[in-house]
Amino acid sequence: MRDATHEDFVIRWAKFVRDNPDKWRKIHTEFINSQFKMNEDFLKRLSKEKDGKEKIIKLYNIKNVSGYKKLLK
C-alpha cells in the first residue's frame, strides 16, 4: 500500500462497487476510456515530433513495424 489514505480509498471504492452495482460502471468506464484517449492523442502528437516515431517503437518494443504503419508514417 502506498499510504493509509490511499488504502482507505481502495477500500471505500471497493465497497462502493459492491454496494452500488448500478452506479460504479459509469464512473469506471469514463476513467478507463479517458486514459486510452489521452494515450492515443499523445502518441499522435509524439509521432509528429522529431524522433517521435523511434520513441514510440522503443516505448512499446515494437519489432513488427508494419503492423503500425499509419501511426508511424
Partner: protein, 185 residues
C-alpha cells in the same frame, strides 16, 4: 445512448473481441490485473494477461491468421512460425489492434499443473459485464498475495476480497498458495 456509452470501455471491448476469436481455437483464461479492473478497480493498465492451452503449430497458425483477419497484429512479428517459437520457449507474445500500441493482450501457453488448474477452474463473472473466461477469484487473490506482491497487486487483492466477499474461500486460497510455492517459488 448514455447506457450504451457508459457500459462499454475500451479495455473490455478489446478483451471481448480477442477472446471471441481465441475461444474458437483453444481454451483460455484472463488473469491478474484485468480481473480486478473489470471488477471495478480504478487503476490504469496497458495490458491484459491471457493463458491458453497449448496448440500445435498448424492450429496456432490458423489462430494467428484469424486474429490478423480481425484487425489484430503481434508486436513481435507478423510471422506465425516465429511467434509460435516464442510460445514454445515459454515467452509471451503480445497482440494489439493494428496501429494502436495499447491496449495489448499478452498471451502465453499454460506451462505447468498450476496453469492447467487455473484453466480447469475458470469462471465467468457477470458483474464484470465482460463475457469471457477468467481465472477464479480465489486464484487471482492467491497469485497477487503470494507471488506478485507489488503494492498494486495487494490493492487488487483487497478490492477483489471486498467485491466478491461471498466467493472468497480461504481454504482454497491456502491450497493455491501452496501450489504457487511448489511450482513458482
Amino acid at each position: 445512448m448514455d447506457r450504451l456509452i457508459y457500459n462499454i470501455n475500451v479495455l473490455s471491448n478489446f478483451c471481448r473481441k480477442f477472446c471471441k476469436i481465441i475461444d474458437k481455437y483453444t481454451e483460455y483464461i484472463i488473469v491478474s490485473g484485468f480481473v480486478a479492473i473489470a471488477s471495478g478497480r480504478v487503476r490504469g493498465t496497458e495490458d491484459i494477461d491471457m493463458i491458453i492451452k497449448p496448440l500445435d503449430k498448424e492450429h496456432f497458425i490458423r489462430l494467428h491468421n484469424a486474429l490478423a483477419k480481425n484487425g489484430f497484429v503481434a508486436v513481435q512479428s507478423d510471422d506465425p512460425i516465429e511467434l509460435y517459437s516464442y510460445l514454445k520457449e515459454k515467452t509471451s507474445i503480445r497482440y494489439t489492434l493494428k496501429d494502436k500500441p495499447v491496449p495489448e493482450m499478452e498471451v502465453k501457453f499454460a506451462k505447468d499443473d498450476l496453469d492447467y488448474y487455473q484453466i480447469k477452474t475458470k469462471i465467468k463473472i457477470p458483474l464484470t459485464n465482460v463475457d469471457v473466461w477468467f481465472g477464479s477469484i480465489n486464484m487471482n487473490i492467491a497469485f497477487k498475495e503470494e507471488l506478485l506482491k507489488s503494492p498494486k497487486d495487494i490493492e487488487d487483492s483487497k478490492h477483489l476480497r471486498i467485491v466478491y466477499s461471498e466467493f472468497v474461500d480461504e481454504s482454497e486460497i491456502r491450497k493455491i498458495k501452496e501450489m504457487i510455492r511448489r511450482y513458482r517459488l
